[in-house]
């Protein structure tokens, strides 16, 4: 398996859902068990940059595709723009759904660099949050759109834009 840019070897039957491989065999606890049926979104991971529900994806279907979990999205030194946005908005209550919210927002930004609010809501619609953190999650997602723009600009310019400048962007 290719997980978070590392090659991992696991021994499991191919019908085992990806979530349990990640959590049990690879000790990657970012993705959460919430429902086991793909209904809540807490288990989302990126597979080749697209969000999938790891509790319903069998290991056999993943093959050698690139799996990215919340742990692999960014590093503490260089957070992914979506993570930075969620932290800056303090968009957490219990935080259990955040894995899915952040993964889904990252996947959205992979396919749409400038989503409007309705598009954001639609992208997060099938991710449940029981604490009712939705307003802050929405604010974080809007902020993430802005951070991602700065991040792209930084990467495309030779001198780059400082992370501080990224933080000063307000959605």
């Amino acid at each position: 398996m290719n997980v978070n840019d590392a090659v991992e070897s696991v021994e499991a039957s191919p019908e085992t859902p990806l979530l349990y491989i990640l959590r049990n065999d690879l000790s990657l606890n970012g993705p959460k068990y919430g429902c086991g049926l793909g209904e809540c979104g807490a288990c989302a991971v990126l597979v080749d940059g697209r969000a999938v529900r790891s509790c319903t994806v069998p290991l056999g279907a993943v093959g050698k595709r690139r799996v990215t979990t919340l742990e692999g999205l960014g590093t503490p030194e260089h957070l992914h723009p979506v993570q930075a946005a969620f932290i800056d908005e303090a968009a957490a209550q219990c935080g259990y759904c955040l894995n899915g919210m952040i993964i889904a927002t990252a996947a959205l930004l992979n396919r749409n660099t400038d989503p409007d609010e309705d598009t954001i809501r639609e992208a997060l619609r099938h991710h449940l949050c029981r604490c009712g953190t939705h307003m802050e999650i929405l604010a974080a997602a809007r902020r993430a759109v802005a951070y991602a723009k700065v991040e792209r600009a930084r990467r495309s310019m030779p001198d780059g834009v400082s992370p501080k400048a990224a933080k000063e962007v307000s959605p």
């Binding site: 068990y33 429902c35 742990e71 969620f86 219990c94 307003m135």
Partner: protein, 748 residues
């Protein structure tokens, strides 16, 4: 849950209850039984070995040993690099106390906030609620009851740091001052707290300390980012479900389809042959039930093993509740005479110029926290260690000790950060801990020498009972053309939550459970007769975020709106008239919401209507002014403006989040599919496709406004929930001309 009253006897009551229940266990109710549960509840031995210490204090006598809850060493550690680790005496499950309590302590400590960290505690006696004397996260009590406690803890440590610096420099302590983690001498010398910590903590703990004048607060009252925001956004936060010991196994349990049922026959041969399955164990479960635990390498293997079980259940001895029949039964019960919470002269009812009659139905509700219930247990011959998200670590430890045949002091409960809870992580029988310990014990007896994590699937969690009880309310109200209520005859039918719990003695009087009636009548001066019936049913019920106010606020605030509408009065003015010169917090909260919303001064978009409600619960008042419409026959909430009175807001950012969160949980209860129903004793919902939780496309624009106050803070975990549904319903009623009498809303 739990209004203000004297709980000094609570620890003793808990101990008595547990001792009384030591040889009994909770049984599912027999068929058609209407016996009270009193006295049959509880397991375990005494869990308060330090009862005397916990109850000491008479300020007049000196010297008095400090209580465990007042000892800084249990709460504060300052590392040489100056990092301050604050231990929390509560469960953090989203409500933000892991940030707010350190803010309170850091304020008096004069700490550098950037160096403050926090962690959760255990079942140690230091971490009991200082007012209740037992471990408790509930009743929106954390900030209310621990505000002074954490201030004093911070002030004591600061005093010790000052004394250590005075020793070091050989100067008088009165010459020294502190600032953001540093002790300063008049001559400009300074020492960081980290440099003084070791010497300071070796000093005697001062008895008397001075607290800051609130006008000097620089941390309390500032909108502050959560200390756990980074960990929760980067996958680093460990929840109970994530906790893992070397060699740990995972158990899932086949539970009977009806509460309290037993195994008739079991064929586990196929389950035992599933790869990764280590053991299949028959275990006693909550409420006298039996189940089959499948212990395996991981959750998936255990689930596969459970799927392979062939179990026949014996449900003959337990009542099988059916929601439709239960409602008919409640309606019949409502006609009977019963005990009265309030009384008033009902004679004016017949002659009243105007009248209305109403019947309300509220369903069972699951807490449905995102993190399913789980509990990890490691056993040795003379010790048990438990890791779980617990709202009541002491009770869980006591129950565990009884199951395991250990003394209470041989059990450690390590409280784990939880993905929500809303009341479910404190059940009167400690069912989560009890079952996990039964499984760990059985696994050990079967020769498995490994820690065992018992994990509930979503379906186990949703079908596992301990719901907000279903209720029937009936009202007959007579009033005049000015809206003066002449007589209000009200009846509530619903299971008692507190009967059989440690709170029964305090909260169940003359057959009436205060957790059922809280929020009725108050604060309005109404001539109300309130009759209460508590039928018993084989469905476990429990406190659920804001408890009685989940239904009483709805009933009160929609009925008052109906009266205002029937007498052509503005709903805000009508409420203000009822408050008169009393209830300044209600008035201020409502006025703030009105002012900020533009109610009365701004025209709404076509098809929208205003809705208003205000309600006090758990000592805080929340008012909502909302905008709603009906879209394709479905109610739609567009905007919410909140006015909040919680006295001093310790962390306004958390208050805002808690109001929004509670309101959205309240919104969930309005939406189609937000109900638990039973058919022939079996819960019909199992996963989120069958139990509605509000989605991001359902949530409104939201504006939270806090009434400024310097008074001692009151809690905000729950009070934002009750007024949302009635405010929404009042707006819908104004659009449709028909009252909303059912939860979830049914506009058909």
């Amino acid at each position: 849950m739990l209004p203000n009253m004297d709980y000094s006897e609570l620890p003793r009551a808990l101990q008595h209850m547990l001792e009384r229940g030591r040889s009994t266990s909770v049984q599912a109710l027999p068929r058609r039984s209407f016996l009270k549960l009193t006295g049959t509840l509880g397991l375990a031995v005494g869990i308060f070995p330090h009862l005397a210490a916990a109850q000491s204090t008479d300020a007049g006598e000196a010297p008095i040993a400090l209580k465990p809850t007042e000892q800084p060493s249990a709460f504060v550690q300052i590392a040489p690099n100056g990092e301050v680790m604050v231990t929390i005496n509560r469960l953090e499950f989203g409500q933000g106390v892991q940030t707010a309590l350190p803010m309170i302590l850091a304020e008096e400590l004069d700490a550098d906030w950037n160096l403050v960290r926090s962690q959760l505690g255990t079942n140690d006696m230091a971490y009991v609620d200082p007012l209740f004397g037992m471990h408790l996260t509930g009743g929106s009590n954390t900030i209310k009851n621990s505000f002074t406690q954490y201030r004093e803890l911070g002030a004591r440590v600061r005093a010790m740091l000052l004394a250590a610096a005075a020793d070091r420099w050989n100067v008088d302590v009165s010459a020294l001052r502190t600032e953001a983690g540093v002790v300063l001498a008049p001559d400009g010398r300074k020492l960081g707290y980290g440099e003084l910590s070791e010497a300071a903590m070796a000093l005697p703990v001062p008895q008397k300390i001075a607290l800051k004048d609130p006008k000097d607060f620089r941390i309390i009252g500032q909108p502050t980012q959560r200390l756990d925001a980074q960990a929760k956004s980067s996958g680093q936060q460990s929840f109970g479900i994530d906790f893992k010991l070397p060699g740990q196994l995972t158990a899932v349990v086949a539970r009977p389809p009806v509460f309290g049922a037993k195994i008739a026959s079991l064929d586990d041969s196929a389950a035992r042959s599933v790869k990764g399955v280590k053991a299949v164990l028959r275990v006693p479960l909550d409420r006298g039930a039996e189940g089959v635990a499948v212990v395996a390498d991981g959750y998936w293997q255990a689930s596969q093993g459970r799927n392979a079980l062939k179990v026949e259940w014996d449900t003959s001895a337990v009542e099988k509740v059916d929601s439709e029949k239960q409602l008919a039964q409640f309606r019949e019960i409502a006609n009977r005479p019963g005990p009265r919470q309030f009384d008033a002269d009902m004679a004016p009812l017949e002659a009243a110029p105007l009248s209305l009659e109403a019947e309300f139905v509220f369903p069972y509700l699951a807490h449905a926290a995102m993190e399913p219930l789980n509990c990890t247990v490691r056993l040795s011959d003379d010790r048990a260690e438990i890791w779980m998200g617990s709202q009541s670590a002491g009770l869980d430890a006591g129950v565990a000790a009884n199951v395991l045949g250990l003394k209470p002091e041989q059990v450690v409960v390590n409280v784990q950060t939880s993905g929500g809870g809303f009341g479910r992580r404190f059940s009167s029988s400690s069912d989560t801990a009890m079952e996990a310990c039964q499984i760990a014990k059985a696994a050990r007896a079967a020769g498995l020498n490994a820690p065992v994590r018992t994990l509930w699937s979503r379906e186990d969690d949703m079908r596992g009972g301990y719901y907000r009880p279903t209720h029937l309310h009936r009202a007959r109200i007579g009033f005049d053309k000015e809206g003066n209520v002449l007589a209000w005859d009200h009846t509530i039918v619903g299971q008692s939550i507190l009967t059989g719990t440690v709170f029964e003695k305090f909260q169940v009087k003359d057959g009436i459970d205060a957790a059922t009636t809280e929020g009725m009548r108050s604060p309005y001066p109404l001539p109300m007769r309130l009759t209460v019936h508590h039928p018993v049913a084989n469905v476990p019920v429990l406190w659920w975020r804001s408890v009685g106010s989940t239904h009483t606020a709805f009933v009160m605030e929609t009925l008052l709106d109906d009266i205002a509408r029937a007498t052509d009065q503005d709903p805000v003015a009508y409420r203000m008239k009822m408050f008169g010169n009393e209830h300044p917090r209600h008035r201020d909260a409502l006025q703030l919401a009105v002012d900020k919303s533009g109610y009365g001064s701004r025209a709404l978009a076509e098809g929208r209507a205003w809705g208003v409600a205000v309600h006090e619960s758990f000592s805080s008042v929340v008012a909502y002014v909302v905008e709603a419409s009906v879209v394709d026959g479905q109610p739609k909430l567009h905007r919410v403006t909140a006015g909040v009175h919680c006295n001093l807001a310790v962390n306004p950012r958390t208050v805002e989040a808690q109001v929004q969160g509670a309101a959205i949980m309240g919104l969930s209860t309005c939406l189609a599919g937000s109900e638990i129903t039973l058919k022939d004793g079996v819960v019909e919902q199992g996963n989120f496709s069958e139990f509605t939780v509000a989605r991001i496309t359902d949530v409104p624009e939201f504006d939270v406004n806090i009434v400024p106050s310097a008074d001692a803070p009151t809690g905000m975990g729950e009070p934002g929930l009750p007024p949302l549904a009635p405010a929404f319903a009042n707006a819908i009623s104004r659009l449709t001309g028909k009252p909303v009498r059912q939860m979830p809303f049914n506009l058909a």
